[in-house]
């Protein structure tokens, strides 16, 4: 019977690694989002300052209810552009005073989405003066 004395230590190390690097999945994404590819992406420095807006067509189990049209998802539910204002206000309130000016909105839009809906979202963000945005994209190799 071989000795397995160190295996628990190794497992512990793994455990700590995952505990430190993990980020809890806070929202369930209900729309199909396949991010477009881009080679010049920059990393998001502070994840805690980012708010996410998902744009895409609803997943299969929501098609009956919401159809296949491109929809906006804020937090856990389908919303319209009119709700963005409240969403941004709520996100702002949740932040500390000092961080509010650094707030960033990450637009996670499906690559098949049309610019019409994205323009609407952008206009609404401008109206709420949430001007720092990021077009989320996958890192791609330079062609």
């Amino acid at each position: 019977m071989p000795e397995l004395g160190t295996s628990s230590d190794i497992v512990f190390m793994f455990l700590f690694f995952f505990m430190v690097t993990t980020q809890m999945r806070s929202t369930e994404v209900k729309v199909k989002v396949k991010l477009p590819e881009a080679s010049e992406v920059a990393k998001l420095e502070r994840k805690d300052l980012a708010s996410y807006i998902y744009i895409g067509s609803p997943n299969a189990q929501y098609v009956n209810q919401f159809g296949t049209e491109t929809r906006i998802q804020l937090n856990d539910s389908f919303k319209t552009t009119n709700d963005i204002r409240d969403f941004i206000a709520a996100e702002r309130d949740a932040m500390s005073e000092a961080d509010r000016s650094l707030m960033q909105v990450s637009l996670k839009a499906d690559e098949d989405a049309r610019m019409g809906i994205i323009t609407d979202v952008k206009q609404e963000l401008r109206r709420c003066s949430a001007l720092k945005i990021m077009y989320a994209a996958r890192k791609a190799a330079v062609k």
């Binding site: 993990t22 809890m24 990393k43 998001l44 994840k47 049309r114 990021m134």
Partner: protein
């Protein structure tokens, strides 16, 4: 009594417990890197500002337009996405001081000295029917053009890539070669 040893702690199960926890964290963790193209939107114009439109010299602006069938126009030329980068680079650098390309303004940059900064602005227009994929591809090419011009500047003046410069030096580079991309007010390009 003092001679009695403390009983050995049963540690057989700690590995199992740790393993269960490990599995739990493996399941719930998302390690996706958040990355993307960062932009600053222009603030919404107030009523007063709407009337006075800033006049920009025609040579200082290049209009990049994507129509509803994802065709790309730069200036008035029909281009492929792969050609856009070089077009923009030429637009920013204006190597031969072409009177049709943007003028340069000698500007004093702190810590560097005078440098002819291009006054060119890239105006990006799109249609409501443009696909997001095409839009990001074009945005990416624009950023790539600016980054390449910056890389050349770094190589020429500092002899090392942008990432290896100090923060102050990076600021100088950003000031010497600004990234002026304007995302135009939405309008239907194909309508007219």
């Amino acid at each position: 009594m003092s001679s009695r040893k403390t009983p050995g702690l049963n540690t057989q199960s700690t590995a199992d417990i740790a393993f269960l926890l490990l599995c739990y964290f493996l399941m719930v963790s998302t390690m996706d890197q958040q990355s993307g193209l960062q932009r600053l939107l222009p603030p919404m114009p107030t009523e007063k500002q709407k009337t006075e439109d800033t006049k920009v010299n025609k040579r200082n602006i290049i209009i990049v337009r994507i129509n509803s069938s994802d065709r790309l126009f730069a200036g008035d030329q029909l281009l492929d996405v792969s050609q856009l980068k070089d077009k923009i680079k030429e637009f920013i650098t204006n190597p031969n001081d072409d009177p049709n390309l943007p003028e340069k303004e000698k500007k004093f940059i702190e810590g560097f000295g005078e440098y002819p900064v291009s006054k060119g602005i890239i105006s990006l227009q799109n249609d409501r029917g443009t696909s997001y994929n095409a839009y990001i591809a074009v945005q990416n090419e624009l950023v790539r053009a600016v980054n390449e011009v910056r890389a050349e500047f770094c190589k020429q003046h500092y002899g090392k890539p942008y990432q290896n410069l100090t923060e102050d030096q990076q600021k100088i580079v950003r000031e010497a070669i600004p990234q002026k991309i304007s995302e135009a007010e939405p309008k239907d390009v194909t309508k007219k």
